[in-house]
Amino acid sequence: MVQGVGKIEGRSLWQISWIRLKRDKVALAGGAVVLLLILVATFAPLICKIIGVTPNDFHQDLIDPSLQTPIGKWNGISADHPFGIEPVNGRDIFARIVYGARISLLIAFLATLLSVGIGTVAGVVAGYFGGWVDSLISRLMDIFLAFPLVLFALALVGAVPDQLLGLKGDSLRVALIVFIIGFFSWPYIGRIIRGQTLSLREREFVDAARSLGARRPYILFTELLPNLIAPILVYATLLIPTNVLFEAGLSYLGVGVRPPTASWGDMLSIAANWYQVAPLYMVPPGLAIFITVLAFNLFGDGLRDALDPRSR
């Protein structure tokens, strides 16, 4: 890194963080995988078309009729089916993994967005206004965190009709899961933002603004928020893998999107039924979840190190 002398533009903390992030190879690798996953999810139809696979077509000619498992080794891997095929109906695993990434990432992103949105507003309000507002919001967070979320999800998804608010089928399911995960995980981020706001509020630059006659919106949006974006970004990145796992768990329990729509959790739950005769079927969805969670976590940790002003 060359440091120019004389008339250089000021380097913001963002630029410094970026320089630091660029040096963190592990985080960069995580980030690259994250990017790849996003591309795969976005272009799932195109990718499948190029490879020549489809997620929902049966290939029962490739299934051993007596065992109901794929003919051949390794889930029946072949040139036509790079990751092999499912037991019983012979759907292509590669295509289902690729399409599963869509569901998984879509839900994880939207749920994270929702919880970050609620959590940030609640955390900033609690931290900035303090007093009884803070007490109220903090108790609310305790209650939400104590909520038996999985049971609630099972009950809610079971009780919701096939059509609601103009949504139906998969979109309704996705919306429901996003709502459940997002609405109940905002306290995690809310607490962090509350703490950050509390400590920022005491900083002297806030007093300086006040002594110049700044109003509350100015202090909130111009003085505090720019300092909160880094932690929001970091914890959002770290919340995504949690939500990926959560979504997988819900699909595993059968409250995710409905078959035949592919999802990693659903694939795992089918695999669980077959682990004695076709143990390898567990590997692709398991690895997909593992890699996704790991990549996001590595990237998020690197981001935290890069953005943390204390390590300056």
């Binding site: 000021g10 007490s135 007093d207 300086a208 006659g213």
Partner: protein, 352 residues
């Protein structure tokens, strides 16, 4: 106990116009405990201050860490609302003025903060920081804000090219200059400088102090200068008030205070200051105070200094010594003051 006007030794006459007057100023921070947040006590950070600040002077507030200096500064700038007492600025009572009413007045009273690292928003450029006063007070300047900011930067000894830089690219001294530029933007009348140099390297302290002095002459500023020891403000003060545990124990013109201190606590503080005056150094040993500063949550009764004072008598523990004028322009709160004009005879008077 208002200061009667007798011509004192100070260069600037105290007959000048009164800019700020503080009477009985109190700030207690409630301590709340438990689920119900019931008040269980209070930090008596500032507990009854009386002083006035004259236009154009530098009035220094000196005392150990935790004695309530910053709290006083924040009360004067109305970042805090007093628990009791009265603050009058330019004839206007601002003690409990609402935020809306006080907003336009904030132009006139500005504060330089203690921590040059905390007082500048790390996400804002220098231009944005120093330009904020114009924006917040809707002040239009000839040639635009950018030009005005760059002029301010030059004024405090920085380069106009620093406009787009960020605070973390500067040293402590430079940051404090940025903070000073910000306080000057609105051409205030009074600047409360809260230990403006205590966080800086000793080698830079003098530069910043000199800058403040130059600016005072150029813009007719009045300073309330806060410091934790008597050496820093020695050359810039016109008058000095010594604080101990939320109270003022002595106020005097600079010369009087350094040459004939009356309160034992002032003596102790002075004995810790390197003295160029060899006569007095020979005469005076370093006074080492016993024990720590007591907690402002539960301060000692009557004279708050009695737990550490070598002259303490029974009366000091039962009767609070009032802040009395014992010499022209020289007020002290002690039952047994030193260096009295009429000799060292112990004063036995009680609170009146």
């Amino acid at each position: 106990m208002t200061t009667t006007d007798t011509d004192s030794t100070a260069a600037k006459s105290p007959t000048g116009e009164e800019l700020l007057s503080v009477t009985g100023l109190v700030k207690h921070f409630p301590i709340r405990r438990g689920v119900l947040q019931r008040q269980t006590g209070a930090v008596q950070a500032v507990d009854g201050l009386d002083f006035t600040v004259t236009k154009g002077e530098t009035f220094s507030l000196v005392g150990e860490s935790g004695c309530g200096k910053t709290t006083t500064g924040r009360l004067l700038t109305r970042l805090l609302e007093p628990t009791a007492g009265k603050i009058v600025f330019e004839g206007r009572d601002i003690t409990h003025m609402s935020e809306g009413k006080i907003r336009p007045l904030r132009k006139d009273v500005q504060m330089i903060f203690q921590d040059p690292y905390g007082s500048l928003n790390p996400r804002h450029t220098v231009g944005k920081i120093v330009g904020a006063p114009y924006k917040l007070q809707h002040v239009k300047t000839e040639g635009g804000t950018k030009k005005a900011v760059q002029e301010l930067l030059e004024l405090v000894g920085l380069s106009p090219e620093h406009y787009n830089r960020y605070p973390h690219e500067f040293s402590g001294g430079q940051r404090q200059r940025i903070g000073i530029a910000r306080t000057l933007a609105l051409r205030p009348k009074l600047i409360v400088a809260d230990e403006p140099v205590s966080a800086l390297d000793v080698s830079i302290q003098a530069q910043v102090v000199n800058l403040l002095e130059d600016l005072q002459n150029e813009f007719d500023l009045t300073y309330v200068m806060i410091a934790h020891d008597l050496s820093v403000v020695r050359h810039v003060s016109d008058r000095v008030a010594v604080m101990y545990l939320g109270k003022i124990v002595e106020i005097a013109d600079r010369v009087d205070l350094y040459e004939t201190p009356m309160h034992p606590y002032t003596l102790a503080l002075l004995s810790a200051v390197p003295i160029p005056d060899t006569k007095r150094r020979a005469r005076q040993e370093r006074i080492r105070l016993q024990g720590d500063v007591p907690s402002p949550i539960n301060p000692p009764p009557a004279c708050r200094f009695h737990t550490r004072c070598w002259k303490a008598q029974d009366i000091c523990k039962t009767v609070e010594p009032p802040l009395l004028q014992l010499a022209p322009g020289h007020q002290t709160a002690c039952h047994f003051p030193e260096n009295q004009p009429g000799g060292d005879a112990p004063k036995t008077g009680t609170a009146g």
